[in-house]
Amino acid sequence: MVASNDRQEDERLVTASLAGDEDAFAQLVRRYQRRLTAFLSQLVGDVELAKELTQEAFIRAWSALERYDPTYRFSTWLFRIGHNLGIDHLRRRRLKTVPIIREDREGAEVEVVLIDQAKDPLGHLKNSELAGVLRQAIDGLRPEYRELVLLRHFGGLSYQEIADLEGMPLGTVKNKLFRAHSVLRKELESFL
């Protein structure tokens, strides 16, 4: 019911924005800015860069608003724009630098993201030990788990929104998040 109301409210705000009501779009910005920045911060590993990407995502959303398809939720559409911007940035960065690759717990290759302490997306946590362990736990996840965890817990998207965004069956999202949680619970055991 809550999700349905949110969706209706988003549609109302999008319609008002298209009619030229900039306040309505400002409300959409207020609704999603924090979640999108939180998601992008973890994705690119840099808070300041995530803020720039968030701004760019909203500008692109505004520019393309008349092409938004309400079959999907506004949040899904906005996060897709943000996600694409984040991935584009990571690709560009990869072209300029040599990635450091290591193996995760299951033997799959994972790129190590080196984080500047000043730009650490978990830098706001008072418990620095927890921040460090959490960073390690999230980075240690397999990429497909990691992305779902970021969308769910930092982006605040529902399982259905994640399924729409990733083009995955809902059951697959549930399974992957279940497994990801098992890994996280194990890694963060001493804090839980």
Partner: protein
Amino acid sequence: MNSQCEKVRYILVEGPGVPGRIDPAVAGHLECCEACRQFAVAEERLAEVLETAAAPADPALQQRVILAVEELEARRRRLALVPVAASVILVLAGVTLMGGVPGASMAAALPAWTAGGWLALAGTVMDFVGALRAVAVGLGLLISTPAVLAAVMIVVVGVGTMVLVAKRWRRQAAWSDRS
């Protein structure tokens, strides 16, 4: 762990649809399953940790985004004026080349739109046709047929552009009239 435990744990990982409201079936299972109760506590703590890990809202960023959007919208509207001005100039150029519009009788007909309106309109159309004929005769001596055709084309393109611009001035979603 039996299949009921697994089902309950999937639900616990997914979290309650409405915050703070636990499914009665899940609550019933938790009452009698110690392992799942521990699982639920760990899951709740994990959700809390992840919740606090998300970056706090940044009001300055919100303001920056809103200002950027306002600037973008102002630029879009300014740019939309360029084709409006161009199309008005095109229409005026075309009408001028065609010899102008018989304005007097048309203007006289406009206020009488309700009473003798239809008659006045018919009269105006006839005036216009007559004027066009006279202009054509006159132009035949001064301007070549291709130039007249070009003028007509300019008017048509100008009017068409104005219609398109008017439609683009106010943004409208492709889906807005679906409902």
